[in-house]
Amino acid sequence: MGVSTFGGLQTALRGLLAQQRSLDVTSHNVANASTPGYSRQEAVLAASRPLHIAAGAVQNGGAAELGTGVDVLAYTRARDQFLDLQYRAQAMRLGGLSAQVEGLETVEGALAEPGENGISTQLQKFWSDWEDLANAPESQATRQALVESAEGLAASISSLDSQLVTAKEQAAAEYTSITQAGGEVEQMATEIAELNASIRSSLNSGATPNDLYDKRDLLLDKLSSLAQTSVTDLGNGTIEVDFGDAAVPLVAETTVTWPQALTEPQGKLGTLIELASPTGRIASYREELGAFAQELAESVNALHMSGGGPAFFSFTAGSAASTLAVNVSAAEVQTTATGAEGANDIALAIGALRGGKAESAYSSFVSRVGTDMNNARRAAENSEVLVNAVQERRESTSGVSLDEEMTNLVRFQRAYQASARAMTTFDEALDTLINRTGRVGL
């Protein structure tokens, strides 16, 4: 079988088209250089099916294959699924730790320690006021000052407690807003389900929906910072997404099942559940603060009532921090059990509580909050470094390098020009053949 006279033109045309596709892809890459979640694409070129030339085509009488140019085999995206898995595991940790840092920052800020406005300073002032009263038990002004500073102290303790409650409620509210019907989780799940449908129909029609894959992967990245997210490929282009410890998969093919109850989902939602839980960290801070308030009130009351007087502080056992209040008026403040106006035994004894159990309870509370905060912040920083490292590797595989794209642009442009030149050459050759051949002597 001979070779068509016009075969070379066809080869040059294939070259032109393939280089044009490559330029298109390069241009798409450059346009998406800063699109989040975008993976760089490539037009995979391969030599097209050669033309088989029957025996006798070459000198020694053998058969041969004549190249017919180039074809675009596929458009691929550069993506490493293993890095995606690593990224999602780290993003989940970081999501949890960042939420913890944010939650604890509220608590730490509410403490106002160390400083002039913290409870420790007010507590010292309270003891000093008792000693001042011991120095002048007859003085109404000193009693009044004592009652006022005690009221300030009680108010600070209960306001710290209510700030802790607020921090807890904020965590609960944030959890609800993310997980409620129509919330962040459901929105992302719905989008994933829709993408599943689009990807499936794209694949059915024989296309490779690279950009849809990228969009779906980006949504999975975002979901994974909220809770443990695991992905199962269902084979037809769709995926199943298991979210946290939800009983039913969040997304299966095109079905979304949400809202669902979560108990230990890890990630940001896991931290929010822990912070808001009645056995969680903030609740344990409240307990510790309550124990301090109760210790303070009980130790002062025991001495204050030793002469038969009223209790100095009133509180409800079990929620001492929120209910702590001064129970006496200035005139009812007891300074002595003996009844003499100048005696100061009770005032002295209460003043001597300084540096005692209540104070060490409070300072260990502050130190615990500080240590927790410190640990959380350090862990979050470490986790951020890890996320960055994975992100860096992912970026190295999938990211768009403008230098590379520019080089490709030059390469493809030159190849395009060369193909066009080849076509011109054929054209000229055919011109010679068709228009000038056989015109000898005309």
Partner: protein
């Protein structure tokens, strides 16, 4: 194959490094502007709890210092009153020695007796001395005057002690009861000042040989015994005052070292902070400049 470096990677790395440089800078700035190296419990949980403890100790020391000052005020008032009481008793003794001389007639004795009565009144007045509105000789009945002026000599105060706390668990009684010095008069026959003074006045007015004998003998002796008693009471007050003053200067030293210690734990070391601030600022500026150059650079700049 070497790792591909993309533009987004470069920008992100630059951004991340700038972020951490600026965080470090902000930390130094916070330390510089607040003057504290501890501004939150998480800066150094152990340091913060130590700072809280030290601040508590410092506040306690300052309170003890106030207590000491109060005690010194109280004992000074006591001491002054006791000095005046001693003067009065000395004057009474002079009168007694003079009047014991038989050459004085009944009229002269009567006038001495009148002066003794006046001195007795002033003794009671001194015993009613107050410090900041409180009777210092009345025990813990500080709002009751210890003696009523006039003929009744009963002590209206009590034997309570007035302690001032001068250190953790250390209390010093700063008061002296007037009963120890003045007693409760003839009714109690306790040989204290009021009893003796009333007896002297009676003997001066008695005009019998026995009275004259008593004036020269027992009255003088009893007055001397009381002077001795006064001296020893004053010695106790003086010792208390010395103790308070000693405690005061010790507390001053403690306060100074407490402030110093707290500052070491809590305050930023300015020289060190300034140095690291400057270093961090330079590093940040350098990072900014380098970042600006790196991010700009691309093959695009060279292809035409």
């Amino acid at each position: 194959m070497p790792a591909r470096i993309t533009n987004a990677m470069v920008s992100r790395t630059v951004l991340y490094d700038l972020g951490s440089a600026s965080r470090r800078l902000a930390q130094s700035e916070r330390q510089l502007s607040s003057g504290k190296q501890l501004t939150r419990p998480s800066d150094n949980p152990f340091g913060v709890s130590r700072a809280i403890q030290l601040r508590g100790q410092l506040e306690a020391t300052q309170q003890y210092r106030r207590n000491v000052n109060e005690g010194i005020g109280w004992t000074t008032a006591t001491e002054a009153a006791l000095t005046r009481i001693t003067d009065v008793v000395q004057r009474a003794r002079e009168l007694l020695v003079e009047a014991g001389n038989d050459s004085n007639g009944a009229v002269a004795r009567e006038s001495v007796a009148t002066e003794i009565d006046a001195l007795t009144e002033s003794l009671k007045q001194e015993a009613n001395t107050t410090y900041e509105g409180r009777y210092v000789f009345a025990g813990t009945a500080t709002e009751t005057s210890p003696y009523a002026l006039g003929g009744v000599d009963t002590f209206a105060g009590n034997a309570g002690s007035v302690p001032r706390v001068i250190g953790a668990g250390v209390a010093v009684a700063v008061n002296v009861s007037a009963r120890e010095v003045l007693g409760e008069g003839q009714g109690a026959a306790d040989n204290k000042l009021l009893d003796v003074m009333r007896d002297i006045a009676e003997n001066l007015r008695g005009n019998t040989p026995a009275d004259a004998e008593a004036l020269r003998g027992t009255d003088l002796e009893r007055l001397d015994t009381n002077l001795d008693n006064l001296t020893s009471v004053r010695a106790v007050v003086g010792a208390t005052m010395n103790r308070l003053e000693g405690a005061g200067s010790r507390l001053d030293e403690l306060e100074e070292s407490g402030v110093d210690l707290l500052s070491k734990v809590e305050d930023a070391d300015m020289a060190e902070t300034l140095t690291s601030y400057t270093t961090e600022k330079t590093a940040y500026e350098a990072a900014l400049k380098a970042g600006a150059n790196i991010v700009q650079m691309s093959l695009l700049d060279f292809l035409h």
